[in-house]
């Protein structure tokens, strides 16, 4: 169903059934009240989903999912070249969007040396369970990078991975997905030197589709 500019009535003319169906019935069916839903949504993360209404192009509104996922376990990595999964991957959240996301991530992190612990996130086209397409390439992905990472300098306060995990957070808008579809946001982790051990705990990810 698509929105149609409502017709202008003219004195002494009849409203036909076809006009009513296009200009009244079909436009009513385009409203938020006609399309408001509940229930579980695709993907990993909590089954609970909130829905905010926003625009989706000219004369079109859409439900935008708000979802979250937490991974509390303290886990480590010494990977210093690329952002990687920890033993328990994620957290990760899958939503439908035609535009982008408001991404909110936070965790406790630190290292046992003067080097830095970094927690960032990747974005990729996915199926409903958060899995990327079963092909080598040809699908949309945006790898994790340090420009959007939470970063904790391990030099402060006392260099003990077990006890020096400060909790930080970032909030960012990431826009411009190529087409409307399912996308997964997944936290990934890195250390700035492979002689160090970076630790991460109480990882939190909230995503609002835009």
């Amino acid at each position: 169903m698509a929105w149609t500019t409502p017709m202008t009535a003219v004195e002494n003319s009849l409203l036909t059934a076809a006009q009513f169906n296009v200009h009244v019935r079909n436009n009513l069916l385009e409203t938020e009240a006609a399309r408001a839903t509940t229930g579980n949504t695709p993907g990993p993360g909590t089954g609970a989903t909130a829905r905010v209404w926003g625009t989706e192009g000219p004369n079109r509104s859409a439900e935008h999912y708000v979802k979250d996922h937490n991974v509390d376990t303290l886990e480590t990595t010494s990977e210093d070249e690329v952002y990687t999964d920890l033993a328990t991957p994620g957290p990760l959240v899958t939503v439908i969007t035609a535009y982008g996301f408001l991404i909110m991530a936070n965790c406790q992190l630190g290292t046992n040396t003067v080097n830095n612990a970094q927690a960032s996130y990747e974005i990729y086209e996915s199926d409903a369970l958060g899995n990327p397409p079963d092909v080598e390439d040809g699908y949309f992905s945006s790898p994790a990078n340090s420009g959007r990472a939470i970063e904790m300098d391990g030099a402060w306060p006392n260099g003990s991975a077990a006890s020096s995990l400060n909790r930080y957070g970032v909030v960012q808008v990431w826009a411009a997905v190529p087409i409307k579809g399912l996308y997964t946001v997944k936290m990934k982790y890195k250390c700035t030197n492979n002689d160090a051990v970076a630790s991460f705990a109480q990882r939190r990810l909230q995503v609002m589709a835009l």
Binding site: T16, A17, A18, F20, N21, V24, R25, L28, L29, T31, E32, A33, A34, A36, T37, T38, T46, A48, T49, A50, R51, V52, W53, E63, V66, K67, D68, N70, D72, M104, N106, Q108, W156, P157, N158, S163, S164, L165, N166, R167, Y168, G169, V171, Q202, R204, Q206, M208
Partner: protein
């Protein structure tokens, strides 16, 4: 008032007042312009074919406060905000937080008086040498709430020793 599938008109059929009232008027009364009352609120789905307006509220408490309590306490008013939600809310909080000893300061939102778990909190380690009061923000999702009014109150504690100091405190709740 409840949403009903809009009627489909048929050529040369009688169009009753009751059909108009149910199929058009009552449905128009369920749309976003009809239910909106206040500037700056969101429209959210609250049930199948039901939408509601939801508020984004902020509370600020700039004054400095300290605690050496090892259980969570509300410092002054918190700050705190109360919003009416559907099944969820996002809560954003930020503050300068420090711990003057070799312990940790935690500062996080209690919802309706519960005890904040560590995972909700800003956490700053002190080393007992240099007291830093970094300004940090954390967001939490609460997506399994019951419909109704919920109060988010920032609370602080230390893991030992202390004191913890909080200043320039902000809390925002976005009802969903």
């Amino acid at each position: 008032m409840a949403w009903s599938t809009p009627i489909t008109a048929a050529a040369n059929s009688t169009f009753l007042a009751s059909q108009w009232n149910t199929g058009v008027r009552d449905n128009l009364a369920m749309t976003a312009p009809a239910i909106s009352t206040t500037n700056g609120w969101l429209i959210c789905s609250s049930a199948t074919n039901v939408i509601s307006e939801r508020q984004v509220v902020q509370s600020i408490l700039d004054t400095s406060a300290t605690t050496s309590s090892v259980t969570f306490v509300t410092l002054g008013t918190g700050p705190a905000v109360t919003v009416t939600t559907g099944n969820g809310a996002l809560c954003f909080h930020s503050a300068n937080v420090s711990c003057a000893t070799n312990n940790s300061a935690l500062y996080g939102p209690s919802i309706d008086g519960d005890t904040p778990p560590t995972g909700r909190c800003i956490l700053i380690d002190g080393d007992g040498v240099t007291t830093r009061d970094d300004r940090i923000g954390v967001t939490n999702g609460f997506l399994t709430l019951s419909d109704g009014a919920h109060t988010f109150t920032l609370q602080a504690r230390v893991t030992g020793g202390g004191p913890a100091t909080v200043i320039n405190r902000r809390i925002i709740a976005m009802a969903l």
